[in-house]
Symmetry: C2
Subunit: 143 residues, 2 copies
DNA sequence: CTGGATGCAAACTCTTTGCATGCAT
DNA sequence: ATGCATGCAAAGAGTTTGCATCCAG
C-alpha cells in the first residue's frame, strides 16, 4: 500500500496535468478508494470520507467519481438494480454478481474477447473495453 | 414469423402450465415482443401495446415483463444509466453498447466462458449465465 | 481576485408498491 | 364466486442539476 503522501502526490499530478484543482475532498476520496481496493458505492465512499472530512455531500462524491473515471483512477461497474459500484482496480478483470443480493466480486475469467471486439467493429462500434459478468447465486442466497 | 394464433397459443400454454391467467395485456405484450424481435424498453413496449390495446399501465408492463422473464420468454438486459432493455432473443448471445447514446446491439461474440464459470464457482457462486458486453462508441457518436 | 468546486435542496428518471376495481377461471 | 390481474397514484431508490457560497490558484 502506497503511503498517504505518495497517493496524494499521484492524484495531484493527475489533476494538475488537466488543469483541475486539488481539493481536500478529492485527496481524501482518492485515499479511501485506493485503501479499500474493492467495490464501493457512492454512499459507502461518502461514509468512509466522513470520518476524515465531515459534511462531504453525495453530489460531490458523484462528481469526483466521474472525474476519477475520466482520469482512469476508477471504473464504474453498473449493476442490475442496485447502486453503481466504483472499482479502483482499473486493469482488465471480470466480475461475478449475485442476482438476489447484488454482491459483486472479482474473478479472473481470462476471457478471450478478440472475436467480440471484431464483431463490435463489424457492427460499426469503436470498442473500448469488454465487460464480463457471471450472474448467479452466492453461497448465502442459495441457502 | 409465427402467426398471431401460434404466438397466442404458445403463451397460453406457458401460462396455464404455471396456473396463471391469460389476459389480453399478456397476449398483446407477448406479440409485441416477439414481432419486434429486438431490445425494447418497458416504455417502448407500452407505446407499441397502446396501438392495439389502449390504456395499459406501465406497472402492468413491468409486472408482465418480469413474469415473462421467469417463463424464459425475455431476458432483461441491464444497461448503464438508461432504462432496462428486454430482449426476446433468449438464447446465448452477447451485446455491444455505446457508452454515449446507450444504443445496444446484438453481436455474436462466441466467448468461451468456461474459465469464468469455474472462477465463479471457486468464489462460492452457482453461475446461471455469463453476460458479455463490449462497451465503446457507435458510429454516430464518434462523429 | 476569479472561476472552478462545494454543499444543500430539489428535480429527475426509472421502477416498485398499495389499493380499489375488474375480469379470467 | 373467488382471487389474481389491472390501472391509477404515489412512494422509493439512485443520480443529477441549480444555485449561492467558498476557496485553490
Amino acid at each position: 500500500m502506497p503511503t498517504t503522501e505518495t497517493l496524494d502526490r499521484e492524484l495531484t499530478e493527475h489533476l494538475r496535468r488537466r488543469g483541475q484543482r486539488v481539493t481536500p475532498q478529492r485527496l481524501v476520496l482518492h485515499r479511501v478508494l485506493r485503501e479499500r481496493d474493492r467495490h464501493v458505492t457512492a454512499e459507502e465512499a461518502m461514509r468512509a470520507l466522513d470520518r476524515e472530512l465531515p459534511n462531504v455531500s453525495l453530489p460531490t462524491v458523484y462528481a469526483n467519481l466521474e472525474l476519477f473515471e475520466e482520469l482512469g483512477i476508477v471504473r464504474r461497474v453498473a449493476m442490475e438494480g442496485g447502486p453503481a459500484l466504483f472499482d479502483s482496480r482499473t486493469e482488465q478483470h471480470d466480475h461475478v454478481a449475485c442476482r438476489r443480493c447484488g454482491r459483486v466480486e472479482d474473478i479472473e475469467a481470462s476471457v478471450d474477447d478478440v472475436r467480440a471486439l471484431r464483431a463490435a467493429r463489424a457492427a460499426g462500434y469503436e470498442p473500448e473495453r469488454t465487460d464480463v459478468v457471471v450472474v448467479g447465486l452466492c453461497s448465502d442466497c442459495r441457502a
